[in-house]
C-alpha cells in the first residue's frame, strides 16, 4: 500500500500512458518516434505489473521480476529496432514509415 494514493489512480495513469503510446504508434510517421511509442506501451504495462503485485499480493515478488525482464527485453528490442531502422535508412534514404511499403498488394 502506498499511503494516500488509491489503486485506481495509478491504473488511470498507466491507461493514459498506454493509449498515448498506441496513438503515437498509429499517427507518428517517423520510425524512431514509433519506437518510442512502443516503449511507452511497454512501460504502462510494467506499471500495471508492479501495481497489481503490490496491492494484491504484497508478500510475493513475481510482478517486480516480470517488470525487470520486460525492461531488459525492451532494451534488447530497442537495439534490434534501431539496427533495422539503420538498414531501412540505407536502403530507402528515409525513416518515414509510409515510404516502407514494398510488400504491399
Amino acid at each position: 500500500m502506498i499511503q494516500g494514493i488509491p489503486f485506481t489512480h495509478i491504473l488511470i495513469v498507466s491507461t493514459i500512458m498506454f493509449f498515448i503510446g498506441v496513438a503515437g504508434f498509429i499517427t507518428r510517421k517517423n520510425l524512431i518516434t514509433m519506437l518510442m511509442s512502443t516503449e511507452l506501451i511497454l512501460n504502462s504495462v510494467c506499471i500495471n505489473f508492479v501495481v497489481f503485485n503490490r496491492y494484491l499480493y504484497p508478500i510475493n515478488l513475481q510482478g517486480h521480476f516480470f517488470t525487470m525482464i520486460i525492461v531488459a527485453i525492451a532494451a534488447a528490442e530497442a537495439s534490434v529496432a534501431i539496427a533495422l531502422i539503420i538498414n531501412i535508412y540505407r536502403r530507402f534514404s528515409s525513416i518515414e514509415v509510409s515510404d516502407v511499403s514494398e510488400m504491399k498488394n
Partner: protein
Amino acid sequence: MAAFSYTVLIPLVPLFMFLIIGLFGMKFKPLVSGIAGTVGLGFIAILSYITAINYFFGVGKVNEVFQTIIPVNFTWLQFTETLHIDMGVMLDPISVMMLVVVTTVSFMVHIYSLGYMKGEVGFERFYAFLSLFTFSMLGLVIATNIFQMYVFWELVGVSSFLLIGFYYQKPSAVAASKKAFIVTRFADLGFLLGILIVSFYTGTFDFGLLTKTGTSIFQSAGAATFMGCSVLSWGMMLIFMGGAGKSAMFPLHIWLPDAMEGPTPVSALIHAATMVVAGVYLVARMFPVYSIQTPDVLTIISYIGGFTSLFAAVIACTQYDIKRVLAFSTLSQIGYMIMSLGVSGYGGEEGLGYMASMFHLFTHAMFKALLFLGAGSIIHAVHSNSMQDMGGLRKYLPITHITFLIACLTISGVPPLSGFFSKDEILVAAYNKNVILFWVEWAVAGLTAFYMFRLYFNVFWGKDRHYHHTPHESPLVMTLPLMILAVASVFSGFLPFHELVTSDKMGFESHMHYNIAIPSVAVGLLGIIIAFIFYKKETGIPDKISVALGGFYKTVYNKFYIDELYLFVTRKIIFGCISRPIAWFDRHVIDATMNGVAWVTNYASEKVKGIQSGQVQHYAFVFVSGAIVLVLFFVYLLN
C-alpha cells in the same frame, strides 16, 4: 514332369536378349547386338527341336494318346480359391508344333536381318524388338490358361506395333502402326469380354479344364441366353473376335496390308508366319469347346474364313506392290486355315479339318516366310516395292529366283510340294462338310496360283528393264535362310501330321483323295498357265481385261473400299456424331465449370489484395480498432 522343365528357357532366353540388347545395345557395335540375338535364337530353336523330338517320338504318347504335359506352372494372381491366373508352360501337340514354327522362322529372320538391315539406323533396336516379339509369341503358344494367352497376346500386339513403326520418321509407317494397334486392340476388347463371360460361367481360365471332353463346367452357362443365343455362344464368338482381329479376318483385315510398311523381315516373321496365325491357334486351342459346346459359332467361323480367303485372293490379283500382294495372299491362306477349323468335327477322321488347318499353318509359315524374305531380297536389289519397276530379274538374282519359284509352286499346290498336301486336306475337309465352301476354296486355289505367278512372271520375266545400277544378288546371310526355307517348303509336306497333331490327340489314317486332289491341282495349273500367257512377255491382255471390267476392276483395286468405309464410320459417324458432342460437353460444361471456379477465386483475390497497403500503421490501426470492438462486445453486450 521334370523331363521337360528346360522348356521354360525357350521364352526366357529371348526375354533376356531383349533386356540385354534393349538396355545395353547402344554400348556395343550394332553387329554384336545382332549376332547376340541370333545366337540366342539359334539356341532356343535347337531346344525347341529337342522338345519336339522328345515329345512326338518319345515320351509324349501314352496309350496312343498324346499327353498334355505341364512342366512348369505357378500361380500369378489369386482371386478366389478356384479362380486364379497362372503362368506356366503347357506342351501338347499344337503348342510343340508352334514352338518349332516360331523358333524356326524367327531364327531365319534373325539371320536374314543381319544382311537386310545392315547399316540401318537403329539396328540394335530392331533386334531388341525382334527378341521381344519372339518372347511374347512363345509365351502365347505355351500358355497354360486363357489369361496368360491374353497377356502375351497383347505383348505380341505391342511388338508388332513397334516393328511396323520401326521407320518412325516415315508418316505412312507411323499411321500403319497405329492402325494395326487400334484395330487389333479393338478386337482384343472382344477377346477380353469373351474370356470374362466364359470364365464367369465356368469359374476357370485353365485350358486343361476348359477343353476336357465330357466336362460339366458348361452346364451353368447352358441355360442362360442373351438375344436368342446362349451366353456361351456369345462368349466364344467374342473370343473368336479377338482371334479374327489378330488373324486379320474380314472385316478386321484392314490393318494387315498397311502393316507392310514395316521392314520386310518383320513382315515375314510377324505378318506372315507367326503372329497372324495366333487367331488360328486360339481357335485350335479352344477347339473342343467350339466343336462340342457351340457348333453354331464354328459354322459362322467357317463362313468368315471362307469369305476372307476369296475376298483377299480377288484383291491380290489387282495389286502392284509386291508386299501387298503377299499380304493379301496371307489373308487368303489364313482364311483357309480358319475355314478348315470351322468345318472340322471333333475326334478321329471327323477332325480332319483341324489336322489340315494345323498342317497348313505349318507349311504356310515356311513358304510364306520364304516368299516374304525373297521379296525382301528383290526389294534390296531394286530399291522399289512396285512390280511395275521390276522385270527380267532372273538373270541378276539366281538364288532368289529359284527359291521364289519354289515358294510360288508350293503355295499354288503343285504336287509333291508341301502346299499341295496341306491344301488338299483342307479341301477334303471342306468337301465332307459343306460343298459350297469347297467350291469357294477350289476357286481360291486357282486364284492363288494366278496371282502368285502374276507376281513371279512380272518380277523375274517380262520385259528387261534398265536399272540405274545393275541389281546384284544378296549376300549369303540373306540367301542362306532362303535356301533353308525352300528345303523346308519342299519337304514339310511329308511330315505325318495326321498321326501327330489331331483334334483328340490320337492319330488317324489319312488317305489321298484323288477325286479332290486332281481338280484342285488342275485349277492351280490353270491359274499358272493363265498367268504365263498374260505376263510371261509383256502383252496387252491384262490391261484390256482390266479396262473391260471397268468399275469392278477399280473397286477391287481399291480393296472394295473397305478402308474408306472404315474411315467414313470412324470419322463421320463416331468422331462427328458421338465424339464431337462429347468433346463439346467436355470443353464447355466440365472444363468451363472448373475454369469458372478458378476465375472467381482469381477475381476475388484481385479485389481483396487492395486491402494490403504495405503501411504498417494501417494494420496497427485496424488491429487496435478490432481489439477495442471485441472488448466492447465482450464487456457490454455479453453481460
